[in-house]
């Protein structure tokens, strides 16, 4: 008798636990907005956008009915995976941050995002707005920061090679197109026998970002990369220079990080956020400096936007908050918190920004330098839905030549085959 009772209990428990597990799989947490006009807004960012609790409190103080929950993902890749798994369904925050790297993929789904009001469009730099505008003219991202590029150099290594060390003079020496940059490299290599820049890949990236429609035709999305003479020209030029001038250290590799401190290369193309990367990997090196110049004009590398998913619960309130977060004043505060360089034209005139100096880079006036570099950017390269696959394959093609696996012609051919397979 007792046995049977026990058995029955076990049976009920088994069934109950199974169904509990099943149910748990289906239920999802949802943020609710209260009845009395109370709104809870969720903001999802990654890395560090500079949105501190103190900064967000300024908004909630002015809007007592709003509560803000700020979720930070560790890396942009985590955020990307989360974004695409939930976009168009449920579970995204009211405001989701996205990075320029995966902006072209987001643009495919522009209809699932709430557009930025037209009267705000003049707030940002032209190329910032253009990159996030869909084919039917809707702006879907509130621009936060940008990555205007200068040239970082090791003044101690320049001195040893008999090159100018003062950042004004270095800027004068490098002023011009890419051939000027590579000519300086030849001089450096001849004097020291050491590498001038870090990698063909990084250098190529700087040059290709100055080409308007490098890989795809913006009118019909057709892939033109393999037949575009400009792409081939940059490819040849960079590889010709890299044979003697490159340290052959792929960016972000362990060897490259070591190269930042051991003097393996003397210069590097340098967006604003790279300054922190250099300082973090080579804290004991004294020679790093930054020159107010970029080969071939201006260049931008990286930056982010805030987006508002159209199917969120509080779209209007979220748009209001995104508007405030990307306003010039707030962005300057974010810059002070985390060094995110503002993309708003108004903010570029701000005194706090312009007077910003960096002690590690020999007290360089980085605020002024990067502002000048941001204004020098004239081209907004078109990046379609295949941009990153094509560019990734190109980076690998350059690496194959750099590490000696293939010669330039064979590697180009393999790249062409790979790009043709994308369609």
């Amino acid at each position: 008798m007792k046995n049977r009772a026990l058995r029955r209990v076990a049976l009920v428990a088994a069934v109950a636990s199974t169904s509990a597990l099943v149910l748990a799989g289906c239920s999802g947490g949802g943020a609710a907005s209260g009845g009395d006009g109370q709104v809870t807004l969720t903001v999802a960012t990654f890395n560090d956008f500079g949105y501190t609790d103190a900064l967000l409190k300024e908004y909630t103080d002015a809007h007592p009915n709003v509560k803000i929950v700020h979720n930070k993902a560790a890396t942009s890749n985590d955020a990307r995976a989360n974004y695409f798994q939930k976009l168009g369904k449920t579970g995204l925050a009211d405001i989701e941050a996205i990075e320029v790297d995966w902006l072209p993929e987001v643009m495919e789904y522009a209809d699932l995002l709430a557009p930025v009001p037209d009267d705000l469009k003049s707030r940002w730099l032209d190329y910032k707005v253009k990159a996030a505008t869909s084919t039917d003219g809707k702006l879907i991202g509130y621009g936060t920061d940008i990555g205007p590029e200068g040239v970082c150099y090791r003044s101690d290594l320049f001195a040893a090679a008999g090159l100018p060390t003062d950042r004004e003079e270095v800027a004068k020496m490098l002023q011009g197109d890419w051939s000027t940059y590579f000519a300086a490299g030849d001089k450096y290599v001849a004097a020291t026998g050491k590498a001038f820049f870090d990698s063909a890949g990084g250098t190529y990236q700087g040059a290709i970002n100055q080409v308007e429609d490098a890989y795809e035709n913006p009118a019909n999305g057709e892939i033109t990369a393999t037949t575009n003479p400009e792409v081939k020209k940059i490819y040849d030029e960079v590889l010709k220079a890299s044979a003697t001038q490159s340290a052959h250290l792929g960016q972000w590799s362990d060897d490259w990080m070591a190269g930042l401190s051991n003097g393996a290369f003397a210069t590097m193309l340098c967006p604003g956020w790279m300054l922190g990367v250099i300082e973090g990997n080579a804290p004991e090196v004294k020679g790093w400096d930054i020159a107010n110049v970029f080969p071939g004009g201006g260049g931008n590398w990286g930056g982010s936007y805030l987006t508002v998913p159209a199917n969120g619960k509080n779209v209007a309130a979220a748009q209001e908050l995104a508007d405030w977060l990307t306003s010039p004043d707030t962005q300057i505060k974010a810059f002070e918190n985390a060094g995110t360089f503002p993309s708003q034209t108004e903010a570029l005139k701000n005194e706090t920004l312009l007077s910003n100096k960096n002690a590690y880079f020999n007290d360089a006036p980085v605020g002024q330098i990067l502002t000048d570099r941001a204004e020098a950017v004239k081209v907004s390269p078109y990046k379609g839905k295949f941009y990153f696959q094509i560019n990734d394959a190109m980076q690998k093609a350059l690496t194959r030549v750099e590490d000696g696996t293939q010669d330039a012609a064979t590697s180009w051919q393999q790249w062409v085959t790979e790009v043709d397979a994308l369609k």
């Binding site: 058995r7 199974t18 695409f84 976009l87 060897d255 690998k396 194959r400 397979a421």
Partner: protein, 361 residues
Amino acid sequence: MTSTLERPTRSASAPAGARQPRRIGFGQRRSAWDLKFSPYLYISPFFILFAITGLFPIAYTAVISFMDWDLVRNSGHFIGFDQYTWVLSQPKFWVALRNTFSIFLLSSVPQLILAIFIAAMLDQNIRAKTFWRMSVLIPYVMAPVAVALIFSNMFGDQYGVVNTTLQNLGLPAVPWHSDALASHVAIATMVNFRWTGYNTLILLAAMQAIPREFYEAATVDGAGKARQFFSITLPSLKPTLIFVIITSTIGGLQIFDEPRMYDQYGTGGADNQWLTVTLWLYNIGWGEWNFGRAAALAWILFIIILAIGAINMFVTRSLVRDEGGRDQRSRRERRAQARAAKQRLEADADRRSTPRKEARR
């Protein structure tokens, strides 16, 4: 021989007119059900869970693999076998397959040899046994990603510990990230580091189950340590070895963490030097968001693993049969005997049913 197989004829002993109960009580019926269905009910939670988390995704993947799937819009249209054709026509696929098998062989073979050797050493009379046994398991406890991070740093092309040491010894540096075989060796090293100790412990347990009398008898017969190892230890390890080989095959074909963490991009190298099948699957799925292709590749991998599993099973069966030695008869003899027994049973049943029919009438 034949007489032992004869069934005792029970029909004769049952009294012909015994009273059958008319109605079976509900309680009795319930306990009959209890006996019949309870076991299935008790194991059902696993199978229900498996159906939800295992079977459904597998089937759903199959459906998606026939479609051009848009993850975000959660929709797609049917395109037949196009995704499969695409995957199989890519040179990348064959490179990935080559890499997977190369890394698998480079990791499994040395690993097993090493594990057997270490286990044999640990099986000897050494001091502080538990200490040594626990020590070999420590790498297994480490997170694979942590292992991969440490080793990737050591295998740096220019400033890595391994190459610096080689150069200090006057040897040429190895291009760990551009030569395919070198990268496979480096990745296999990580795998070996992690799994050797685990296999050692399993093999050690099997070794300790070998009766010590065998060794005593061999010693009396004058066999040396090496001879004892090859003639007693190894043959007795066969079933355990088969288990270890199967688990490492499955693991080897699904290798992902180590190649993914091997460089800063995690996409398998500039010339796909260390691109494995699972790594490519991940890149297609979560890099390009092309889930149709990723699903097709997943199914191809599934079929490959099934095929290799089947080969494994055949090999295992023949090995175990040779080794077990429980049934010395040949297959033909066994079949003949089974047939004879069946015929006898049928004849028996016929004999029994005829008188019963008459009795009812």
